[in-house]
């Protein structure tokens, strides 16, 4: 008998709430590479991660601040100066990306739909641990492509957990999908060494620890850190003073996600950075 357009199969993935599995069944998502060997012709003797950007996140008094510069590059060329690398996944979760944009945005879309799909089919919200793990699994499935020299993604994931106790939580990942929860701050991308240095210094010997900063102070430090990264890293846009292009900054708190308006970032920049 011909299969109906609605494939009502008995072992439907809906029962498990697994959205990537559903996409694979329908042929809408590349299968996890079983054999992560370099493609002929693209093989590299030493694997060079290309994460040309700077993303940072740290906890402050009002939740987690996540900031990313706006530059997208291809080799030595700047291809776009208004790239959005800080992506909202659901009402309380942000994924910030360093790496290949095509893969990263696809991952963000899969993740966003995964959380909604889980809630709709299972009639309960996915736990924070489940969400963190879901991203980890996507990275793991993508690792074959990373080894082939295409599609490396190294994200930061920030979210607000209401159970068991309300608190902001922050994770960074490696390209294989290992997740690391951090207490204070995380940075990823080619400009991250400079940023990590600044955040470590501020947290240890600054006027006050990052956790106690007000929103304006936090924004100021984020801008200074990105500007410092841009100073030596050509792949990081920092603050474009002539084009008036500012980094994208979002805050995750108990209330949800706030995207800071450019006017506010510009005001802090003028007052404390420029």
């Amino acid at each position: 008998m011909e299969r109906s357009p609605v494939a009502f199969d008995q072992n439907f993935s809906g029962a498990a709430g697994d959205f990537p599995a559903l996409l694979r069944r329908k042929g809408l998502l590349a299968p996890a590479a079983a054999n992560p060997l370099p493609l002929a012709g693209t093989s590299q003797k030493t694997w060079q991660p290309t994460e040309a950007t700077t993303i940072l996140a740290f906890k402050f008094s009002g939740g987690v601040l996540v900031a990313g510069d706006r530059r997208a590059t291809a080799g030595n060329t700047v291809v776009y100066d208004r790239a959005d690398k800080v992506l909202e996944i659901d009402r309380h979760s942000i994924m910030a990306i360093a790496g290949v944009p095509a893969t990263a945005w696809e991952m963000a879309r899969v993740l966003e739909h995964s959380f909604q799909y889980f809630r709709r089919t299972q009639l309960q919200e996915m736990s924070v641990d489940g969400k963190v793990r879901a991203l980890s699994k996507l990275l793991r499935d993508n690792f074959g492509f990373v080894m082939q020299g295409v599609g490396v993604v190294v994200p930061i994931f920030a979210t607000y957990d209401s159970h068991p106790k309300p608190e902001a939580r922050l994770y960074f990942y490696d390209a294989m999908g290992a997740q690391f929860e951090v207490a204070d701050y995380a940075a990823t991308g080619s400009g991250s060494p400079a940023v990590r240095g600044i955040l470590y210094y501020e947290n240890s010997w600054g006027a006050k620890p990052l956790k106690e900063l007000s929103e304006d102070e936090a924004v100021s430090i984020a801008l200074r850190a990105l500007d410092t990264a841009a100073e030596s890293d050509t792949s990081t846009g920092g603050v474009d003073r002539s084009g008036k292009i500012y980094p994208l900054i979002k805050i995750v708190s108990r209330k949800g996600i706030t995207t800071l308006p450019e006017s506010k970032i510009a005001a802090v920049f003028k007052a404390t950075v420029a």
């Binding site: 357009p5 739909h113 799909y117 709709r120």
Partner: protein
């Protein structure tokens, strides 16, 4: 024997009678459009009957839980893959029901050696304006009833679902005279409860074309509210958020009840 046409018709008729009998005790569901969205209301004993399908689409269903689950999962899968591969704006209730659910349900119903879906469903999709709201009722045989204007009826901004046709028609008759889309949540909620009460009262009675008295409707409602929980959900019109579905708790709703 089934090759003979009249046998097939007879088998279908038997099957229809059987399914109607199975669905008959189903507690009614009312979906009412109002100023700020669409409100789904039912009084439930145990099982959840109102579900989120996608950003702007919700479903209410009565029938066998296994069949409802299969149809619900299928609807969510279709909407989610469409929303993922194209965009959330491309997910449309009209397409979902007309092109996917209805044909499958009709096929299952008419293949008399296979099991039919023991389910009756009510879908709604919220739009930016009440005039754009869409209500669809899908029967176990794939038949679709639309709330939009047809040659036989004016456009309706509400829909009802019940165990029997008589009960549903009385709910619709009541709502046709009482319902407006410019009401607020509390007014709409009370109207939905009255409609539910009318539907529930008339499930058992046979051949009633007349609406019950108002006092009797309220009395029946009070009795039922005493030992059943209110199940309700909203599709909010608020365009500021992508996901418009929100379930409302019994505690949140009880204070809104008035006489």
């Amino acid at each position: 024997m089934i090759e003979e046409p009249y046998r097939w018709v007879e088998a279908i008729a038997n099957r229809r009678e059987y399914i109607e009998g199975q669905l008959a005790p189903g507690s009614p569901i009312a979906a009412l459009g109002y100023r700020d969205g669409i409100l789904f209301v039912t009084l439930g004993q145990t099982r959840q009957k109102i579900f989120e399908i996608y950003d702007r689409i919700a479903m209410g269903a009565i029938g066998h839980p296994g069949d409802i689950e299969r149809l619900r999962m299928a609807a969510i899968e279709l909407a989610s893959t469409e929303g993922f591969t194209r965009s959330a704006a491309d997910v449309s209730l009209r397409r979902l029901v007309h092109y996917s659910l209805s044909p499958v349900m009709k096929t299952a119903f008419e293949q008399i050696y296979g099991p039919p879906y023991l389910a009756r469903m009510l879908f709604a999709e919220v739009a930016e304006q009440p005039e754009g709201d869409l209500f669809l009722r899908v029967e176990y045989d794939g038949e679709i009833a639309i709330s939009g204007a047809t040659y036989a009826q004016a456009r309706r901004d509400f829909a009802a679902l019940s165990g029997t046709q008589q009960s549903r028609e009385l709910m619709e008759a009541f709502l046709a005279t009482q319902h407006t889309t410019d009401a607020n949540l509390a007014t709409t909620f009370n109207l939905a409860l009255d409609a539910w009460s009318i539907g529930h009262m008339t499930l058992q009675t046979t051949d009633t074309k007349k609406l019950p008295e108002r006092a009797a409707v309220r009395k029946h409602l009070q009795e039922q509210l005493a030992n059943a929980a209110i199940e309700a959900a909203l599709l909010e019109r608020d365009a500021g958020r992508a996901i418009r579905y929100r379930s409302l708790s019994d505690n949140e709703l009880r204070p809104l009840i008035h006489d």
